[in-house]
């Protein structure tokens, strides 16, 4: 078996004297889509910020990358947030290009890649539009393309579909799985939706109410590609119940 891509052991984080994460320990293998669930305020976003290198951990071990999958913290992170956060003065194509510009990647190649990614997320033909001309779901797709444009090895998603309506959200779930398969990234996906977590994840990591500790961490043994009717499978229900119970519901 290969080495984990992300290795967290006993990670601790305090804001001033407020303990946000007390002990987060889990591994994510290369190419996995790990769902991170836990009650509101338990420290999920904080954990993503630690993975993105925005905050240092106050204790424990954070290791990203392995000899077979080297990781450059300055250019191998893509981020998607709950709000699309597109720059409203830039056209969609130029929005997608932002990370490439910041990293100083060659222009022509990046544009080519950005166009390709917009196609991948189903936004071909919208390159020259401004964000306000797109629906919320479309904007979030553009944000996903932006997170992939510099070809990062790790994509961190913080409740990316939390603001979408239920129907769009289901559609985006399927889209994300398709993009993930095609782009071959390791993804850490934070969500409040337990069924979303099980449906998307190759692995589900459950955190307790803050300060976060590990409640569970299991591999979801459902076949790929996932289809919506799997949500009615008995095994899917078992996984979901397992998470609900851990969260005391």
């Amino acid at each position: 078996m290969s080495r984990p891509f992300i290795h967290l052991a006993g990670v601790r984080k305090t804001y001033g004297d407020h303990l946000a994460i007390s002990d987060a320990s889990f591994d994510v293998m290369p190419g996995e889509l790990a769902s991170l669930v836990g009650p509101s305020g338990c420290g999920k976003s904080t954990l993503l910020k630690i993975l993105a290198g925005l905050h240092p951990a106050d204790g424990g071990e954070v290791r990203i990358g392995s000899p077979s999958h080297p990781f450059d913290p300055s250019r191998d992170v893509g981020m998607v947030f709950q709000a699309p956060l597109l720059l409203k003065w830039r056209r969609i194509l130029d929005n997608v290009l932002l990370p490439a510009e910041i990293l100083g990647l060659p222009g022509a190649e990046s544009r080519e890649r950005a166009r390709h990614l917009l196609q991948l997320v189903g936004l071909a033909g919208n390159e020259a539009k401004y964000p306000y001309e797109l629906s919320g779901g479309m904007q979030q797709r553009a944000a996903i393309a932006r997170a992939l444009v510099h070809d990062p090895k790790l994509v961190l998603m913080d409740e990316p579909f939390g603001a979408l309506d239920a129907l769009t959200r289901e559609k985006m779930n399927l889209e994300l799985l398709r993009i993930w398969k095609e782009a071959g990234k390791t993804i850490v996906f934070v969500t409040h939706g337990i069924s979303e977590a099980v449906f998307l994840g190759t692995r589900v990591v459950v955190l307790t109410a803050g300060p976060a500790r590990m409640a569970d961490n299991f591999v979801v043994d459902l076949p790929h590609p996932r289809t919506l009717d799997m949500k009615t499978h008995e095994r899917f229900g078992d996984y979901a119940r397992r998470v609900y119970r851990l969260l005391g519901m």
């Binding site: 910020k49 993105a52 290198g53 925005l54 913290p73 300055s74 250019r75 992170v77 981020m79 947030f81 709000a83 956060l85 720059l87 409203k88 003065w89 932002l98 990370p99 510009e101 910041i102 990293l103 401004y130 306000y132 510099h150």
Partner: protein, 252 residues
């Protein structure tokens, strides 16, 4: 009729109407020239070479534009520095709000003591009065930028300069312009007050000179020139805003 053309026509009409009303008031009311000159007499003052209009316009214009540009650069730079450090902002912002309460006009005599009189101290006067609205609105605009957007750039180890040019400046631009518009009007007032308090050239100085001889037409002309200088500055700001800020993002 084209509605845009219609608005322009009405705007011009209103200005012409004011001049006509002015003319009729002076003419019919038989108002003495030293109380209120007619439009013609005012224009006539402009043709007298002894007033040195162009040299005075250049002096006052330099004070206004110089002070204003200084205020713009300093206001945006200070606001940017505050966006880097919460401590810096918490320390200086309340102080600046207090300083803003000083009636800048009251500083005039002090500025003369410190800098003598002339173009430079009058620019300082224009600067001191224009800088606060620009600083305060820019700081507000920078605060409105979503922190996650800054995280995104930081996760790519973007430099502060990239953060500023790609996210902060364009994001805060609508706010900066609303401060710039207020600042433009104040800068004109600041320069003129400076000239009133102490100077040996400029339109404000000229007004004091001709006041002694009750040369009202020249005073009227000077006021018009000052107004035109202000309109040029304000117009440039509006033009820049139109070029740089998307219509739906403009802050009134």
């Amino acid at each position: 009729m084209n509605s845009k053309l219609g608005r322009w026509t009405l705007a011009i009409l209103a200005h012409v109407a004011l001049i006509v009303a002015w003319y009729l008031f002076v003419r019919i009311g038989n108002v003495p020239r030293f109380v209120m000159p007619s439009p013609g007499a005012t224009l006539d003052a402009f043709l007298q070479p002894n007033y040195d209009w162009w040299a005075n316009i250049a002096v006052t214009g330099t004070e206004i534009f110089g002070g204003y540009l200084l205020a713009l650069v300093a206001g945006v730079a200070l606001a940017l520095a505050f966006s880097w450090s919460k401590t810096l902002e918490a320390f200086f912002m309340p102080l600046l709000v207090s300083l803003n309460m000083i009636p800048k006009v009251a500083l005039g005599p002090l500025i003369i003591v410190w800098f003598k009189y002339g173009v430079f101290p009058n620019s300082i006067m224009a600067f001191s009065i224009a800088v606060f609205p620009i600083l305060l609105t820019t700081a507000r605009g920078l605060r409105e930028i979503e922190p996650e957007l800054l995280d995104l750039v930081r996760s790519l180890r973007g430099s502060r300069w990239q953060l500023f040019t790609k996210i902060q400046l364009p994001g805060a631009l609508p706010y900066i312009f609303s401060g710039m518009k207020v600042g433009a009007i104040l800068a004109v007032a600041g320069a003129i007050v400076g000239e009133f308090l102490g100077s040996d050239k400029g339109l404000g100085y000229l007004m004091l000179q001709v006041q002694v001889t009750l040369d009202t037409p020249a005073m009227f002309m000077a006021v018009i020139m000052i107004t035109l200088l202000g309109m040029v500055l304000y117009g440039l700001v509006l033009l820049l805003e139109r070029l740089l800020v998307a219509r739906d993002a403009r802050v009134a």
